[in-house]
């Protein structure tokens, strides 16, 4: 079989901790094999070279500055496949929390009287600026899903990204349900794909991989209320990673729903 030309891959970071890019480097056992199929042409975390010729662009981080729009559009133009990489890129991630405080107040809290020196606005998913082909959710992204996406793009198929709740994976791991242990969790509405990471180690699920496409939010509110939580508690829990989905009480960015 003739050698296929290697796909060129680039990594770009916006408002994020760059932890998801480190997850890519954490695929240590597979990394050399991956590099057999793809050539990394831009990756600030690992290489100095920079090229604007790439097939697959991984974008990490939220879209929080209007001035980033041009850079995102440039990436979209260069890349055949754009992948929103990690919670910040997919849903805005934790950054969306600031939208609830008001951008001005958030700026004052962080930068004090130098707030005017910096540009920032509401935090949005990358999708608010450009079309995204695939989303690898999570804070951080699961290694398995990085591999699934890279392999699938190379093989020419749609990556399998789960659109069912974390409960599915949690049950297959035969974890005792956190609700049975007197805790609560967002597993029933959170997108799986992490292998029920947190519940498997005793932690609650905060839905860092976003919500499934058709979550039963009313059921979630009912169940959590029955569990003794107030609506405010529930919203706090919910907003940590998924403020962008908050239709009932949107943050101060009216155009979120349009993305």
């Amino acid at each position: 079989m003739a050698e296929k030309p290697k796909l060129k891959v680039s990594f770009h970071d916006f408002t994020s901790c760059e932890g998801c890019q480190l997850q890519f480097l954490n695929c240590e056992d597979e990394l050399l094999d991956i590099l057999g199929h793809v050539e990394i042409v831009q990756f600030r975390e690992a290489i100095d070279d920079k090229s604007d010729e790439y097939d697959i662009a991984f974008i990490e981080g939220a879209f929080t500055r209007e001035s980033d729009r041009a850079r995102l559009e440039h990436i979209r133009k260069c890349a055949k496949v754009v992948i929103a990489f990690g919670a910040c890129a997919c849903t805005g991630g934790l950054n969306v929390l600031k939208n609830y405080r008001g951008v001005k107040e958030a700026m004052r809290t962080v930068y004090g009287d130098q707030a005017d020196w910096y540009e920032t606005s509401v935090a949005l998913p990358v999708e608010a600026a450009i079309k995204v082909d695939y989303k690898i959710h999570g804070c951080p992204v699961p290694k398995q899903e990085i591999l699934e996406v890279v392999k699938s793009v190379v093989a020419g198929r749609t990556p399998r990204i789960p659109d069912y709740p974390v409960c599915v994976e949690c049950k297959l791991k035969e974890n005792a349900c956190l609700f049975h242990k007197g805790q609560y969790c967002l597993g029933p509405i959170a997108r799986a794909g992490c292998g029920a990471w947190c519940p498997s180690y005793g932690g609650r699920c905060y839905a860092c991989r976003g919500l499934i496409s058709d979550p039963n939010n009313n059921a979630a509110k009912d169940v959590l209320e029955e569990f003794g939580l107030t609506v405010e508690d529930i919203m706090q829990e919910f907003r940590l990673f998924n403020g962008v989905y908050d239709v009932a009480q949107p943050p101060d960015n009216a155009h979120v729903k349009s993305c």
């Binding site: 392999k151 599915v168 035969e174 597993g187």
Partner: protein, 352 residues
């Protein structure tokens, strides 16, 4: 085949002997629940909890693993594809009667033509040691209605009943008879033992009260009569479509198949994994049309499978009344409650 006695002081030796016959899966604690787990070494025997109430997942997972390789391929073309069947000798220890019924239903479903070679091979490679129960473990169970309080014929090779300091061992199959002969932990049952076993049954009869307001023979028809009931919509308002109910069910066996690529993006395995009719995309076809898009229609489908369809297809119960789906439902949706309510719903639908 006359019953025997396994003195509890011989229990560890018995399990150690079983471990020479294959991997042994037994109930262990998974606080605050229990689960079937494979014993790694003899030290693990101490982990066995023969006093368990009900496990999170049923022992079905040893006949139909949650993930399983069906085929092995080395590229897009089909020429060198190999079929794989992993049927390791396995002993399931401490399986309650309702789960014995569940295993029987699973095997019946996979035996139907065209039969599933993997599940049947694993069944053939599996020995089952049943364990009697004297009472319900929780309010969601209704084995007395479903006819699963006592073990089905021919599923458990040996069936143990705890009668104090010893187990009363009934021999259910030829393989069980061989095991009894090959392992020197048993002695023949005497009159005292038989009496204790009889008393156990009397306790069972007193404890296992029926919980449905009608005889189970009417369940399929009552379901059918309540097909258009708003009950399903009402229950679905709380349903997350999270698939927990089907994953923990001893008689659910729906699955998905997909190709898992190796890192070379060419070779890989075709895998089968559990799937759930409750998940939104389950009945979606290429092109996007979804034939059970509404939560209520999926929920009703599950209830009908449990109370009607599986029974009609296999002749074995589609629900064994173990209560797992209800106990583990985050939204507290109870199949027992639904089955209780349909009596009224059916009457109402019939009247109008």
């Amino acid at each position: 085949m006359l019953p025997h006695i396994l003195p509890k002081e011989n229990f560890d030796d018995f399990v150690a002997w079983l471990m020479t016959q294959g991997r042994v899966a037994a109930p262990v604690a998974k606080a605050p629940n229990f689960s079937f787990d494979v014993l790694v070494d003899k030290d693990d025997i101490a982990r066995i909890r023969m006093d368990y109430d009900v496990t999170i997942l049923p022992p079905k997972k040893y006949l139909l693993p949650s993930y399983e390789t069906l085929l092995d391929f080395n590229g897009p073309a089909p020429e060198n594809v190999r079929a794989e069947i992993d049927a390791r000798p396995t002993v399931l220890l401490g399986v309650h009667p309702y789960d014995l019924h569940g295993l029987q239903t699973t095997v019946a479903a996979f035996s139907q033509d065209p039969a599933d070679a993997s599940v049947l091979a694993r069944r053939k490679a599996t020995r089952v040691i049943g364990l009697n129960i004297a009472s319900y473990a929780n309010d969601e169970q209704f084995m007395a209605d479903m006819g699963t309080v006592d073990p089905p014929d021919g599923v458990a090779d040996l069936f143990l009943t705890d009668i104090g300091d010893r187990y009363f061992v009934e021999i259910g199959t030829e393989a069980g008879s061989e095991m009894r002969r090959a392992c020197d932990c048993f002695r023949p049952a005497g009159p005292e033992d038989h009496r204790a076993r009889q008393e156990y049954d009397e306790r069972k009869a007193a404890n296992f009260k029926k919980r449905l307001p009608y005889h189970v023979r009417y369940l399929p028809e009552l379901l059918e009569a309540s097909y258009d009931s708003l009950l399903w919509d009402a229950v679905a308002r709380r349903c997350f479509s999270c698939g927990t109910c089907t994953n923990v069910c001893p008689t659910c066996y729906c699955f998905d198949v997909h190709d898992n690529l190796n890192i070379d993006a060419a070779s890989g395995v075709r895998e089968r994994m559990w799937d759930s009719c409750q998940l939104e995309v389950f009945a979606e076809v290429a092109g996007g049309e979804n034939f059970r898009e509404q939560t209520a229609s999926r929920l009703r489908h599950r209830m009908f499978r449990k109370g009607k369809y599986i029974l009609e297809r296999t002749g074995k119960p589609g629900c064994v009344g173990c209560g797992r789906c209800s106990v583990h439902c985050v939204a507290n949706i109870s199949i027992l409650e639904a089955f209780q309510q349909i009596a009224g719903e059916a009457a109402e639908m019939h009247a109008t």
